[in-house]
């Protein structure tokens, strides 16, 4: 259902429009956008019921023809704040050169603003088209009335309505009359055919590219307010630790330091709450950082002081060696194993990872008279409103959150703990406060990607094909952040590549065991798919190797006949986006074809590896070309990614996301590792937490999009998961060494 409302200009972007402007709020309730399979469903914003997913799309047309479209999603590099408005502009038949995009504040009226879960296009594509088509039809009707002709004789074309006689009105000339039209019903809307698209499916630069090449974009760390002071915060090195005592005499003696402020300790459930600690307030970022170094602080480390990654790894492996709760069960794996035929088993491990966006968390807040104004790099301005309101004890209506550009997000910046720090400090200090996390803060106090262990076992027939497939995982759940009682994988985590194995195997059971979180756990680009895909697609490769069969042929064989797989996700997108194994098979074939798979047989030190994974409703296959030199050094000269993402709204940005995911996935596989010792995170900056640099990343990633008119699915995340197993499968083909625990840098490949 949808409801289109014509607003007075004062209710929306009032100052931007003249009297007589046509301002429209298209309130749309897409029934498929109800429920919560995205990780944020577990969050404090998890009350994401119908209302939260009901977008209102705001647009206005001024009497001079200027079109303003409000973009309600955060820009962290996907191009979303350009691409979604362009979908609307396309249906509106607007001239993009005359469109201005306005970034929305945090406000529930826009529907869900959590730019996360690769869902911006798939949740709002239809809404944008409906809003554009509604306004277009109202403009056409307004023109018809002015001319006294039938609306059927009038057609919107590139910012004008043209009559069959050749007469024309510009959109500006029609704005006032269009505003008087009754909004059309959704069922009566006429949409453009793909052949008529002006912007959808075309490669247009983003609205920010020129600024970003000139050093002009404003990120959270660049935001400022008059009279602003700077804060740097010392936090407990152990998660949940409490402040015992501190001495700030030397800190306050640092030139530029104004005062120190104690932030209240963290209490469970931790959610998005700030960690607490001692803040140094100064007149510059540098003085605040320098003052903080002079703080002498003693902590009571609390219950997580014993957290140690080496021991925890062993505990997780112990867990997956024993039967655990089934999350999917087909046939009877135990009976098949009991037959005593050939079996194969393997264990896999993925360590904690840190998001490490290039811009560390940063926000500015100004608290005054019970209200707070915020400028922040946030993926989720409504979670900012809720978190800040709770921290300050005010109504969330009194939290005005402006969204800046984000210097990367990857899931980190949908957790607004750092914004609440700025708000709390501003209230204490009585001035606008900017909080800038150092890189060390960012890496040591992240919401870490969960460490995970997986155990897999298969029974094999005489062709090496699995007749039974058992898989067990254990990892600390994101759910524990919001309720410490959540000590097993939550449904949304199981739905990420664990309870929807696409292979056609008569006996299959997926299990998940308990694990306690000792650090903050959060979603990182592609979330639980990272470790699930690594284990499942490494194991499939192991079985193919045992059978001595070509990997592509083997994968297509175990995928079986094209069919729909129960995806284990309840509600939201299940009907619109079934898991179609035929589409998965097609990307495997495409990646094989484009990479020249058939003609590139593995050689010593040089081979291809393949993996295909379905996530965020997209089908991705990656073929990775790996070289391992005599010293065991790994190079990735080339990656071929075949992707079926449904309609690619901006193919260039879609390709860019997969190019980036190729690097991100390679970074995780090759060198990504966060460890804890004595409860504290060992790594702290890019010298200890390595991320892929230009000479380590895949040199070329070719992205091959499957032409499609299917609904657009996710693109930001799904390129990551297949990279890990594809790289390790290639290393096996090149060296005979099977990497079962990451990162690869912990292994000697030359022996």
């Amino acid at each position: 259902m949808s409801q289109i409302e014509v607003l007075t200009r004062r209710t929306f972007l009032g100052n931007l429009f003249s009297a007589g402007a046509f301002v429209l709020a298209a309130r749309l309730l897409p029934e498929e956008a109800v429920g919560a399979s995205s990780p944020s469903g577990a969050g404090s914003t998890g009350k994401a019921a119908t209302a939260a997913w009901s977008p209102s799309v705001y647009l206005g047309i001024d009497t001079d023809g200027k079109v303003i479209i409000v973009t309600h999603r955060s820009e962290m590099g996907t191009g979303i704040r350009s691409v979604l408005p362009r979908v609307l502009a396309d249906e509106l038949e607007a001239d993009w050169k005359r469109v201005k995009v306005e970034q929305a504040f945090g406000d529930a009226k826009y529907g869900n603003q959590n730019t996360d879960g690769s869902c911006s296009i798939r949740d709002f594509y239809d809404a944008m088209r409906q809003a554009g088509a509604s306004a277009r039809e109202m403009l056409e009707r307004a023109a018809a009335e002015k001319w006294g002709v039938s609306a059927a004789e009038c057609k919107a074309q590139n910012h004008q309505v043209v009559h069959t006689s050749g007469r024309k009105f510009g959109y500006g000339e029609l704005a006032a009359d269009a505003a008087k039209q009754t909004a059309p019903k959704k069922e009566d809307l006429k949409f453009k055919s793909p052949a008529e698209f002006r912007y959808i499916g075309k490669e247009l630069p983003t609205i920010d590219v020129a600024d970003l090449c000139a050093g002009k974009g404003t990120f959270g760390i660049d935001a400022s307010m008059p009279g602003m002071v700077h804060a740097s915060i010392e936090r407990s090195p152990v998660y949940g630790g409490k402040l015992k005592s501190f001495d700030d005499k030397e800190a306050r003696a640092v030139k530029g330091v104004q005062q120190t402020v104690v932030l209240p300790p963290l209490t469970p459930p931790y959610g998005f709450k700030p960690l607490g600690g001692v803040a140094v307030i100064a007149n510059s970022t540098w003085a605040a950082m320098k003052g903080r170094e002079k703080l002498k602080v003693e902590w009571d480390p609390g219950e997580n002081a014993g957290y140690d990654s080496a021991n925890y790894k062993q505990a997780l492996l112990e867990t997956v060696r024993k039967p655990q709760k089934a999350v999917r069960n087909i046939g009877d794996v135990d009976a098949e194993f009991a037959k005593g035929g050939k079996t194969h088993e393997a264990e896999y491990y993925v360590p904690h990872l840190s998001h490490a966006p290039m811009e560390p968390p940063a926000a500015v807040a100004d608290f005054k008279d019970g209200k707070v104004v915020i400028h922040a790099a946030t993926q989720n301005p409504q979670a900012v409103q809720e978190t800040v309101a709770t921290a300050l004890g005010i109504d969330k209506k009194n939290v005005e959150c402006h969204v800046t550009l984000l210097g990367g997000g990857f899931g980190r910046k949908s957790k607004p703990d750092y914004v609440a720090e700025a708000a709390l400090l501003s209230k204490q200090v009585g001035k606008p406060v900017k909080v800038t996390w150092s890189r060390e803060d960012d890496i040591r106090f992240d919401y870490f990607h969960a460490v995970a262990a997986m155990y897999l076992k298969a029974a094999l027939d005489d062709k090496g094909k699995p007749t039974a497939w058992l898989q067990r995982s254990a990892f600390p759940s994101i759910g524990a952040m919001f309720n410490p009682a959540n000590q097993t994988g939550q449904p949304f985590e199981m739905a990420m590549g664990w309870n929807n194995l696409p292979f056609d195997i008569p006996n299959h059971r997926a299990e998940n065991g308990p694990a306690k979180a000792h650090v903050r756990i959060g979603w990182l680009r592609s979330v639980a798919n990272i470790y699930h895909a690594y284990a499942v697609h490494s194991f499939a490769d192991e079985l193919a190797a045992l059978a001595n069969r070509d990997r592509v042929e083997y994968l297509l064989d175990i995928l079986g006949q094209p069919r729909k797989v129960d995806i284990g996700a309840r509600g939201r997108m299940a009907d619109k986006f079934p898991l179609d194994t035929g589409r998965l098979g097609r990307v495997i074939e495409l990646a094989a074809e484009k990479s020249g798979w058939a003609n590139k047989k593995p050689a010593k030190g040089h081979a291809l590896g393949i993996a295909a994974h379905w996530s965020f409703y997209s089908y991705i296959a990656a073929v990775v070309d790996v070289e391992v030199d005599d010293e065991g050094k790994v190079r990735i000269p080339r990656v071929d990614i075949a992707a079926d993402v449904g309609t690619a709204v901006n193919p260039d940005r879609v390709k860019a996301q997969f190019e980036g995911a190729s690097v991100f996935g390679a970074s995780i596989a090759l060198m990504g590792e966060i460890t804890a010792a004595g409860g504290a995170i060992v790594e702290s900056n890019f010298d200890t937490y390595s991320v892929a640099r230009i000479h380590e990343a895949p040199i070329i990633t070719n992205v091959h999009l499957v032409p499609s008119t299917q609904p657009p699915a996710g693109v930001g995340e799904p390129g990551v998961p297949p990279m890990l197993p594809a790289i390790c499968n290639a290393i096996f083909a090149a060296t005979g060494k099977r990497i079962r625990d990451l990162p690869i840098s912990n292994h000697k490949l030359n022996a």
């Binding site: 590099g77 996907t78 590219v209 760390i221 540098w286 003085a287 150092s438 040199i699």
Partner: protein, 216 residues
């Protein structure tokens, strides 16, 4: 010979007018730390040695420097990294903080023509120096690299791109036609978490091969 050495060290010396800086210290193209280095390298007789480090620091600890062609004076904490001076005091926020340890390259600027990490240069070390940030790299973002960057749609989040462009600009000044190995060597200090390396490489090559000559 001497000025050849200076070039080798990557210092932006104008070979046509090697001594023109002597009259005005703000015009001096040389890095004072490297003057000391030259002394060690038996270059004592050179006129450049008349440049004393004390020239750039006034008795009141006032530090003079040039940023994007404009002269500035700084009398704050001499230990403050240039990065925070540029960002917090001059509000030139195109130069980014990424690590504070010289590990990521997000804060790369040109110091007397060479690419340096501004987080690793204290204010006291940049007295008398000529600093160029992304904002001052070119008129209306017209540097061949900026054009190539836009053409290739390099940025994703864009946060690291100022540093990437500044590093690449210094590379092209030194090696107008860089090989892949040159690009790796020059750019490996600049992290991009979005993973735009492929397009960075493409854009550097496009700018290097482009019709617009890279000005030295």
């Amino acid at each position: 010979m001497t000025f050849h050495l200076i070039q080798e060290l990557g210092i932006g010396c104008d070979r046509r007018k090697p001594l023109s800086c002597l009259g005005d210290r703000s015009q001096c193209p040389f890095d004072l730390n490297l003057v000391a280095l030259f002394q060690e390298n038996q270059t004592r007789s050179l006129p450049i040695l008349r440049w004393s480090p004390t020239l750039s620091v006034s008795p009141e600890h006032m530090i003079d420097l040039k940023v994007n062609g404009a002269r500035h004076q700084f009398d704050g904490d001499p230990e403050m990294p240039l990065l925070w001076y540029l960002r917090d005091e001059l509000e030139l926020t195109g130069t980014k903080y990424g690590c504070g340890e010289g590990l990521c390259g997000a804060c790369t600027v040109h110091l007397n023509g060479s690419a340096v990490r501004s987080c690793q240069r204290s204010m006291e070390s940049v007295g008398g120096k000529d600093i160029v940030t992304i904002e001052g790299l070119s008129e209306r973002a017209s540097h061949p690299l900026q054009q190539a960057w836009r053409q290739a749609n390099v940025p994703q989040c864009g946060y690291c791109q100022s540093g990437q462009i500044m590093r690449a600009a210094a590379l092209l000044k030194k090696q107008p036609r860089p090989t892949d190995a040159d690009i790796d060597a020059a750019m490996k200090g600049n992290i991009c978490r979005c993973g735009t390396y492929q397009r960075i490489r493409e854009a550097i090559k496009a700018a290097a091969a482009g019709p617009i000559e890279v000005k030295k």
